[in-house]
Symmetry: C2
Subunit: 452 residues, 2 copies
């Protein structure tokens, strides 16, 4: 075969340990604050919503954390995920750059999300928890956790952001097929949901609202904990299997990336591909690491680094992070997984320390490259994933203009088979861009926020 | 890791040749008949719809046919597909049988169909064809050919059976994302479509009608040929990569199958998994090979072995096959890929020669096992695939009752992410069974059919 386009690792090459970037960060992480006292939170304060084994992971500074055997067994269903070279996409761009992508769409749920759903279900199970609650944006996380809770015999209720619930009707059935319950958020099942529905009956919802509902449900229900698909340290930790595998595969390909790219909502798939490379960078390697967000929800590029709540109703601890304000309701763009006001504290700190860059792209631009990708590489990308693809394309075109040939690695976070309504809108010419005006962001930020 | 659940082969293990069962069949194949003269058809009579290179494959008796390098390169996008052991499904059934499945759902189109779509697009391309037409039932074939024609720079128009078009609205967008055009069939774009719509405006359509439309379009358009996703000898040939890989993987697993199972519409995924094992059987190996069809379209179990047309409007050659009659319109079950009146002549002959068995299962039974599969194995199966799963489960349960432990291998032909409406109906209790009464079949068969 002419070009080697796919690098597959044997099952025994699945990483046996997660990489914890806290062990290597030049600036130590600021502690989360208690939402009542605004004092640094204690581990036991988190016990109302998380089991202690996950809380320990959240605060751990150990560089390597062993992946439990039952988690390894489930990950092996689709891991190691293949690394591809996008030879035909490169040709279409006319670039000499090599574009590699780590295909996380091969999981049964179709995205990288099971990498953390499975360990979270496992740790809750062994802690004696019977039921989980969670939120989901586009539905990737809700589906992943539905599958994972079914695997470990837990019940699950998913609060799905209303706009995505309406745009992607089959996501609910997918979750039900795996045995979970899914309702649109805001819902009438919680106090916070009812309050918001009363004031804004037509709200598209937001991840912040859905998180509030899921937490309220968890706190007020028996044997129930809450599960989150991004943002937290342990979620980023679980996702590092992506980057650890990619490093082995890039070695086999004989290339080291000049640029590593991931889309950013809460930050989990980005953390997954990027953190092992950030470690390289901290230790002297020269490379660029780029997080990509939508212009409609510019958390990294326009949100300040502050202490803010993770949810709308201020139930969560305050986290040190880039934020557009916890009351921010992003425009109803199709990349529902990127509609989050905040950003993982770990990713936020790396951005502060200039160990990574951030950029924002518009929806229509993303679909343009998403369609080109499907037509050259075969796999149809999720709307979120098209953000990473668009920036890879832009970097490759820039390199072409500069007469350079770079190695670009992107996290292909998930397939778009459940998100085809967005493609239909794009083809019909009805897809629009949303740019967040600076004064709206300023308005959103006037809410009680503590500047770091 | 406790049990080895996944066997992945290296890219260089993709078969380099297709296996042609015609070289080994005890009974030579009867020739197709010309629809006008009813005489054995000549190769050049087929040239109006197929390029000569594919016609040569159709009639070849060579045991091994080399896979062209450009086809190999495209297949390598997802092949070799993984072989899994369904350990958790086994546990749920309480059986000691080992159930292996070949996961063809990992292709970008989500099913086994690209195995033939890619070579068909390639052979048409090198024959100078510019545009293809085709039919599709559930949409798996239409999507696969959309991707393949895009890869080789051909235009494509897909006639999609109306009932599936309505049940699976996102299939059309998927095809468009790959650059193809898709219309519901019967359509007003062809003479045959208009005629049928006039008489039966509410018809759910059938594969037979859609084939008639696609052929009419191909014959009456410039530089256009017709492409078929099943039934023909060369389609079965292309699919044998499935069984050839499975044989290598079963050897690594250290087991030989006692039973090989595939669902059967036109017969292509079944041929793919089964033919290399039929070869073993012809040469003395003891094993059972089972084709599974829906009770609503019982071509193998109730249709006689006759000469019949492949399409409704009698445009195709007459093929020696099991058939319910070319005018047969199957009930609107969700497994749209199994709604075909006929059966691949190669599979029909093997059934005649008792080298395989046939069985029929009802829709509700299939979904029951499909849901159990999703909840134990993670991957959500296509409605077609649930037919193979249901019979694997029934065989495993029977073995348990007999105190036996068998090795069962099934072709997991595709995922069901585009077919979730059927699951929704199942959960709501609204899914019904369709059994084809014998007198209706008799009525359908009174149409002009030539008994072999």
């Amino acid at each position: 075969m002419a070009d080697r386009i796919k690098i597959v690792l044997d099952e025994k090459e699945i990483p046996r340990e997660w990489y914890n970037i806290q062990a290597d960060m030049p600036t130590p992480m600021k502690p989360p604050l208690h939402p009542g006292t605004l004092e640094p939170i204690k581990a036991k304060d988190l016990e109302a919503i998380f089991p202690m084994n996950l809380i320990e992971q959240e605060v751990s500074r150990e560089r390597w954390i062993k992946i439990p055997e039952p988690v390894m067994e489930k990950l092996a269903l689709w891991r190691p995920s293949p690394l591809y070279r996008a030879v035909n996409f490169e040709k279409a761009l006319g670039t000499k750059c090599k574009i590699y992508y780590k295909n996380e769409g091969v999981s049964p749920a179709g995205s990288h999300k099971p990498n953390s759903a499975i360990p979270q279900a496992y740790y809750n199970k062994i802690a004696g928890v019977k039921r989980l609650t969670t939120e989901t944006g586009a539905g990737q996380w809700g589906c992943a956790l539905s599958m994972a809770t079914q695997m470990f015999g837990l019940d699950l209720k998913v609060y799905m952001v209303r706009i995505s619930f309406d745009q992607k009707p089959f996501r609910k059935i997918m979750m039900e097929t795996w045995g979970a319950k899914c309702v649109p958020s805001p819902s009438s099942d919680t106090e916070v949901g009812r309050t918001i529905l009363k004031e804004f009956p037509d709200t598209p919802g937001s991840l912040g609202i859905a998180i509030s509902e899921a937490i309220e449900d968890a706190i007020s229900s028996k044997n129930t904990k809450y599960s989150l698909g991004s943002v937290l340290n342990f979620v980023c930790l679980h996702q590092t299997v992506i980057g650890l595998e990619a490093q082995k595969q890039m070695k086999i390909a004989g290339d080291y990336p000049d640029i590593v790219i991931g889309c950013v909502g809460g930050g989990s798939n980005f953390a997954g591909i990027a953190f092992p490379y950030v470690c390289d960078k901290i230790h002297g390697k020269k490379l660029r690491i780029i997080g990509v967000e939508p212009t409609a929800c510019p958390t990294m590029t326009k949100g300040p680094f502050v202490y803010d709540y993770g949810d709308t109703s201020k139930k969560t601890p305050l986290l040190p992070m880039h934020s557009l304000g916890h009351a921010f309701i992003p425009a109803p763009l199709h990349a529902g997984g990127l509609r989050y006001h905040g950003l993982a504290p770990l990713v936020s700190q790396l951005l502060q320390d200039k160990l990574m860059e951030a950029t924002a792209v518009s929806q229509v631009e993303c679909y343009k490259y998403g369609v080109l990708w499907a037509r050259t590489e075969g796999f149809i990308p999720a709307p979120e994933t098209t953000h990473a693809i668009a920036v890879a394309a832009e970097e490759a075109i820039k390199a072409k203009e500069e007469g350079k040939a770079k190695n670009i690695l992107l996290c292909w976070s998930g397939h778009g088979l459940m998100d085809l309504a967005g493609y239909e809108k794009y083809f019909s010419g009805k897809l629009t861009n949303y740019h967040m005006p600076d004064d709206e962001i300023k308005k959103s930020l006037t809410n009680r926020l503590i500047i770091v």
